[in-house]
């Protein structure tokens, strides 16, 4: 008796689900959406950032370096057609890099902290700046 009841309730559940499914399908297929209530989403592909035509790396000196020689070598690499400007409080130098882009110069730094700025400017005006702090000190601590 119990098993019969169980089987019947199971069949009834299945039948109910089937009817509900058919009703939902019928409703979805006959439904009409007003054009005003629809939204069109267009995915805009991001515009690629223009590749910079210039690069700059400074090998020497290291940032925050402490040196005990007032003559400082500044060297690095940039685009071969660029102009490199090394500028600080007490000096400036304009360098034309070699054909492979290497550049180097020597400058006389002041006592204490020297804020250096190395700027590379491409012929089209694009530029890159690197800031370095170099300290001249002979103090032992």
């Amino acid at each position: 008796m119990k098993t019969e009841k169980l089987i019947l309730s199971f069949i009834a559940t299945l039948f109910g689900l089937l009817v509900a499914g058919i009703a939902f399908y019928a409703f979805q297929s006959t439904k009409t959406v007003a054009p005003s209530s629809t939204k069109t989403i267009s995915i805009v592909s991001p515009s690629p950032t223009p590749n910079p035509t210039i690069f700059l790396t400074v090998d020497r000196p290291k940032d925050e370096e402490v040196v005990n020689n007032k003559i400082l070598v500044i060297s690095g690499k940039t685009s071969s057609n660029a102009v490199v400007i090394v500028i600080a409080d007490s000096f400036e130098d304009v360098i034309t890099p070699a054909l492979n882009g290497d550049f180097a110069t020597t400058v006389n730094i002041d006592d204490g902290q020297n804020a250096l700025e190395i700027i590379s400017i491409a012929p089209n005006g694009e530029s890159i700046r690197i800031k370095k702090t170099v300290t001249y000190s002979q103090e032992e601590f």
Binding site: E65, V66, V83, I87, Q113, I119, G125, T133, T135
Partner: protein, 236 residues
């Protein structure tokens, strides 16, 4: 049997008193070994300390100051500087003694000290108040020949009016002629330009130039040009 057990018991107990008596009096060899171990330990710790710590010098603007610490903004990075009784302070404007209590917020200071790579802090040995020159790079937007001033637009979109004084040294750079002494009258609009100087205390968009380097062959950067076009359109 009992006698044997008693003897063994006594020997066992006495051995406890005998052995420490031998260890308590170290031989010269033991002393040398101990000294050697101590020396090795000291050298090892000193080497580790030397590798961990290095001399460094930084420049920054004071954002906070306490009795034992200075917080700086150095190239948009927050740096913590520890101060102790060995730290020496100096200021070019100070005639008497100068200490940590005299350092105020927004002061530009140079720090020389020991940088700890692990804690990323600097133990300051020398703290000096300093003034650094402002360096701006951009394109010439306008020239005011009457007032000997030029307007410069930087790549960051900043507008700066630069006053050219008698003391201002002006240079030009071309591929052919190289780096030459020049003058205000040679500066034209849209030239690529670098200016060093000091900011006007009353107007943060005005500066007095100490040096001007301009490049007649190099135009202002495309970024600056687009900004100048936008400024022109909005003014119309």
């Amino acid at each position: 049997m009992k006698k044997h057990i008693l003897v063994l018991f006594l020997i066992f107990h006495l051995s406890f008193f005998i052995s420490p008596a031998h260890a308590a009096t170290p031989t010269p060899q033991d002393k040398t070994q101990e000294l050697r171990d101590q020396l090795i330990t000291n050298i090892a710790s000193r080497v580790a300390q030397l590798k961990l710590v290095e001399k460094r010098g930084i420049i920054g603007i004071v954002t906070d100051v306490t009795n034992t610490q200075i917080t700086l903004d150095s190239q948009n990075n927050t740096r913590f500087v520890d101060v102790d009784e060995l730290t020496k302070f100096s200021s070019p404007n100070s005639k008497g003694t100068y200490g940590i209590s005299d350092i105020e917020k927004n002061t530009t200071v140079g720090i020389l000290g020991l940088y700890n790579k692990e804690s990323r802090r600097i133990l300051a040995r020398f703290v000096s108040v300093m003034t650094t020159l402002l360096i701006i790079h951009g394109g010439v937007a306008a020239i005011d020949s009457e007032n000997f001033s030029i307007n410069i637009t930087t790549e960051e979109g900043k507008q700066m009016t630069v006053d050219i004084e008698n003391l201002t040294r002006t240079y030009s750079y071309t591929q052919k002629a190289g780096y030459l002494r020049s003058g205000f009258s040679k500066i034209k609009e849209n030239y690529n330009i670098i200016v060093t100087g000091v900011l006007d205390t009353k107007d943060d968009q005005r500066m007095i130039a100490t040096r001007v380097i301009f490049f007649p062959e190099i135009p202002a950067s495309p970024k600056v040009n687009s900004m100048l076009e936008n400024v022109g359109k909005s003014s119309k």
